[in-house]
Amino acid sequence: MGLDILSYDFMKNAMLAGFLASLLCGVMGTFVVTKRLVFISGGISHAAFGGLGLFFMLGLSPILGAYAVAVIASLILGYYKPSKINSQDAYIGILWSVGMAAGILMISLSPQSYTPNLMSYLFGNILMVRSQDLVWMSILTFSVLIIMFGFFKYFLSIAFDEEFAQLQDIPVRLFRMILFALTGLTIVTLIQVVGIILVIALLTIPTLLSMIFFNDFRRVLLFSILISIFLTQSGIILSFYLDLSTGPVIILLGALILFGTYLLKRNNKSME
């Protein structure tokens, strides 16, 4: 293996993008998992594909369309209580497939002379990240982190007990909508790393793994970030040397570690 991967610019960009995505994914994933927003997040990520198709058809930046639709869908969903949304799961399911249907149709109807590689949106193509994308990704990542940590206790309190936060005169609906919107932004950022179909696994595996070891929210969150960084970086390197798609490698690596940890933990328990 004489290849020095950092001598390739696209690899440097990929690893940096993976790093930024990991920061987002660790923080937002912890909220998504503990507040049980996984299905809602799935709906948002697939709806985003509709926006991607629309902007592509209009000759605009597809990923910008994905961001726009993800944020709008998140704000609408965040307006309602998650328990109410989850009880209407059929509608999320519809949002899910309608987003995909609209996206695929609009891309196929678009007047552009080339069609984008659909696979790269569905399963991610982190090697396509350009230097100018990284600038925007950094600004976005740090904005999300600043908002999350600035109002951390309010987000945590509405994750735990919205009603009690409401009693303390916290604008619960506003904070929930912000939380959802930041989740939407995170999802589209992660889509660029692992793609629409795999994004849910990247959002949940680090937190699930972290919750095996810790039972304090802040530690779970911190460890989720570390696991995400490890997964994206090692996934990128592995996929480079094995010549495989990066997204699936990251996800399968994560799933393998999660599964292994569960088994070890169970064995240890039964040994005691």
Partner: protein, 255 residues
């Protein structure tokens, strides 16, 4: 004027229902005074919890009005719900949950204990929670959880305390701690408690209301068997989940 200053909350002709033709509460009127200790008993599904949530401001009446004296009291309501209201999936420790009772004051970023934690730790001691401050809330017993929720409700220094079924599933130690904390708080603030467990009624109780969609309020000692039967729609002996119950005998025995 004199009795106006004494009244802290006025519930005036309040009705509530999720559908207008299906009311859960009908024309409820009563007042809560500054050092009241009001217990509302009634069967499950009779609207007790709904009434508490209306007083807490978590629901809005479809008819009628609730007035707070002073108006700022509306933002200073301590509420102890039944456990099921929050998500145990969120990994939090006892100390964190107590601190959540006063979000405007306490910080949640550092996982180590800071100087500002003195007050919550003191309170935890009073409720005998000091040995389990770092325990995850998902691992607590019913009684411990109840005490954590009480601590969370009083750390923000409320002007009134509302309890929903506080003694539903607690051990005798928790029950004792609970009674003494309530007694102490009632020296300063009014207490409103709803329960279907009439044995929870302590000697200090000043008023008892019976409710099943409508509300009948009594001074202690005037609760008649007839009224209770009207509320529950069955003989007193059969009240409370089919368990033969001593609603009146145990209660009157205290007087």
């Amino acid at each position: 004027m004199m009795n106006k200053t004494n009244t802290v909350i006025e519930i005036h002709n309040v009705s509530f229902g999720y559908r207008p033709n299906n009311l859960i509460l009908k024309n409820i009127s009563f007042t809560i005074t500054s050092r009241d200790y009001l217990v509302i008993i009634g069967p499950n599904g009779g609207g007790k919890t709904t009434l508490l949530r209306l007083i807490a401001g978590l629901l809005t009446p479809i008819r009628g009005k609730i007035t707070y004296h002073p108006p700022s009291l509306e933002k200073k309501i301590g509420y102890v719900p039944q456990f099921s209201n929050f998500d145990q999936n969120v990994p939090l420790r006892v100390l964190d949950v107590i601190k959540m009772g006063n979000l405007k004051k306490y910080c949640f970023l550092s996982s180590s204990r800071g100087l500002s934690d003195k007050e919550p730790v003191e309170l935890a001691k009073k409720l005998k929670l000091d040995s389990i401050l770092d325990k995850p809330v998902s691992e607590l017993s019913g009684g411990q959880m109840q005490r954590v929720l009480i601590a969370r409700a009083i750390i923000g220094d409320p002007g009134i305390l509302l309890f929903d079924e506080p003694t539903a599933s607690i051990d005798s130690e928790s029950r004792q701690i609970f009674q003494s904390v309530i007694h102490e708080l009632n020296q300063r603030i009014p207490i409103v408690m709803v329960t279907h467990d009439a044995s929870a009624i302590a000697q200090e109780v000043k008023h008892i209301a019976c409710m099943n969609q409508e509300l009948y309020i009594h001074d202690v000692g005037k609760v008649s068997e007839e009224n209770l039967e009207k509320v529950y729609g069955c003989p007193v002996d059969l009240i409370a989940h089919g368990v033969p119950h001593r609603v009146l005998k145990s209660h009157n025995g205290h007087r």
